[in-house]
């Protein structure tokens, strides 16, 4: 079984995000970038499936700027076999929208013919939570989103999904798109030898133009602002004082 894992390069989740004062967007120059945390989980799951003998090959794909090669190298170090960079823009500030990403991925899928696409549930920069579902729609494949458990057997994936009321288990016929949630696994720590070894693994480059996909955004970002900030309130010394304040001052009890 072949697994395709799309991995996105995003601002590291520990970085305090700053909005540019002119409202044009978020400051991305000189900030630490990392693999989207959900995509790390997807890569880890693919590698575990390979270690179990369920998967035979793992191909990772990243779409965006040249710097996304670093993200691909990390995925290779974790255990992916091959990487594809789709060069879609030279501007680090241009986020490629989920629809365009899904179109590009559908082209890669047509060429690579994977049995399973394992994507992250959400990119922590645009917080869209859309690409996997869009890709499944474009391909006419089944989808299982927000996975906290995946079992592959008899040409289908049995997936436990984290939903609003608890957990839902569904079966989806392969090929399919599965998007992963936080509790699926804990990604491994990548040791130096694997990073060195990953440098020798194949990394192929394509362009959006070559794949004939228009990446012009459908959503024009007209303004980016910081949300209204809360100000720290008061310290209360005791439970009695807290109750008194909640009753008289805040009026919520």
């Amino acid at each position: 079984m072949k697994i395709l894992v799309p991995v996105k390069r995003v601002i590291d989740y520990n970085v305090k995000v700053r909005v540019r004062t002119d409202g044009s967007g978020v400051e991305l120059a000189n900030v630490k970038m990392s693999m989207n945390p959900f995509d790390e989980i997807a890569v880890e799951e693919a590698v575990r499936l390979k270690e179990k003998g369920v998967a035979s090959e793992i191909v990772v794909v990243s779409i965006g700027v040249q710097q996304a090669k670093d993200t691909l190298r990390t995925a290779l170090a974790m255990g992916a076999d091959r990487a594809i960079l789709v060069d879609a823009t030279a501007d680090v500030n241009q986020d490629i929208e989920p629809l365009a990403v899904a179109r590009l991925l559908s082209r890669i899928v047509e060429a690579e013919r994977p049995d399973l696409v394992l994507a992250g549930k959400q990119a922590i920069d645009n917080d869209m939570n859309a690409t996997g579902q869009m890709l499944a729609g474009l391909l006419g494949w089944g989808q299982a989103t927000f996975a906290s458990k995946i079992e592959i057997a008899d040409g289908r994936a049995v997936v436990t999904r984290e939903v609003d009321g608890g957990l839902q288990t569904i079966g989806v016929t392969l090929p399919a798109v599965v998007t992963v949630d936080l509790r699926l696994n804990e990604p491994r720590y990548v040791a130096l030898p694997s990073i060195m070894k990953a440098k020798k693994k194949p990394l192929e480059e394509r362009t959006a133009a070559e794949l004939d996909v228009d990446v012009t955004p459908r959503l024009k970002i007209t303004r980016t602002v910081e949300p209204t900030q809360r100000v720290a309130g008061v310290r209360v010394a005791s439970v009695d004082e807290l109750i008194a304040k909640l009753k008289s001052e805040a009026g919520v009890l």
């Binding site: 909005v19 009321g165 310290r235």
Partner: protein, 309 residues
């Protein structure tokens, strides 16, 4: 112009609060057709939707294939009805997040997730970067497909019931099948709409200790929430997680107990009206957003608070 609003039902019951809040978000865009995609036995849900303000018609599709909210048949149904609508919306629940992006892709348009303000027919606000920035975006697509962050809107009231029309489900592509729901039935208010939420974090220490959080919540008639750490460690079920990747809440009162206040957690609760934080670390970041800060050991504070309420 008319909005098509995809509503969620649960065992034949309408997710009324989420629908009523979404209706107030889309009210400036025109009248609304509510689409109910469910298994047989959703007539009551349809009637309930018909009596919510702003609804001019309810479209009721009942079919076994729609009973469990599987994305493929639900998206195919929405797409079959999409012609003529300028907007297709839904509350940003797990149900709709699963379906609407697929709908958008099939219509060859983008989707907007978590809309928190509607400025006009093509202009919307949405949070990005765990709510550390808010973008105003203009959709250039012929149809705007979006989910609404319900905590940012109030609920609409009632009206004289609008008509209910049955619509046919489309053939199930049979790509996925339902196996099981492990739903937790609870008498407590729902997280997303509760007036008071009490949440526990890693500091609570164990599943057994989480009972003290639950007792406090019950004293207050509150919903119970949790940080990701508390859920990961098995102290609380996954559907209690509040945050960037969990539920977003904005109650009148949010009490954070043994939660440090990581940005991913703040993303889910910082729009609460009043925030109380209980933490033994006086430098915990949660105190920067708290209206009332109580520094101390939760194991003495929480029982005392529950006892005195």
């Amino acid at each position: 112009m008319t909005v098509l609003l995809l509503a969620e039902t649960n065992q034949g019951r309408l997710a009324t609060d989420a629908v009523a809040r979404t209706l107030s978000a889309v009210a400036p865009l025109g009248d609304v057709h509510v689409l109910i995609a469910a298994g047989e036995g959703a007539e009551e849900a349809a009637k309930e939707a018909a009596a919510l303000k702003g609804v001019s018609k309810v479209l009721l599709a009942e079919s076994e294939s729609l009973r469990h909210g599987l994305a493929e048949p639900a998206a195919a149904l929405v797409v079959s009805l999409a012609a003529g609508y300028r907007h297709i919306a839904a509350p940003a629940t797990a149900f709709a997040r699963n379906i609407l992006p697929r709908v958008a892709a099939l219509l060859n348009v983008m989707v907007l997730s978590d809309v928190i303000a509607v400025h006009g027919e093509d202009s919307f606000d949405r949070p990005v970067y765990a709510g550390n920035a808010v973008q105003t975006v203009q959709s250039t697509d012929p149809v705007a497909v979006f989910t609404v962050r319900t905590s940012a809107f109030g609920a609409v009231g009632a009206q004289e019931p609008a008509p209910v029309e049955n619509v046919a489900a489309v053939a199930d592509p049979g790509l996925s099948s339902w196996i099981e729901d492990a739903a937790v039935v609870s008498e407590r208010p729902e997280l997303a709409s509760a007036r008071v939420v009490v949440s526990g974090g890693r500091g609570v220490g164990s599943k057994e200790n989480f009972e003290t959080i639950i007792q406090l919540a019950d004293r207050l008639g509150a919903a119970v929430g949790a940080s990701r750490a508390a859920v990961d460690l098995g102290y609380a079920p996954n559907d209690w997680q509040v945050g960037q990747t969990g539920k977003v809440v904005a109650p009148d009162l949010y009490i954070a107990v043994g939660i440090s206040g990581a940005i991913q957690h703040l993303a889910g609760m910082k729009d609460s009206k009043v925030i109380v934080a209980i933490n033994k670390d006086e430098d915990a970041p949660i105190f920067r957003v708290a209206d009332y800060a109580l520094v101390g050991d939760l194991f003495s504070i929480v029982p005392e608070l529950a006892g005195k309420l």
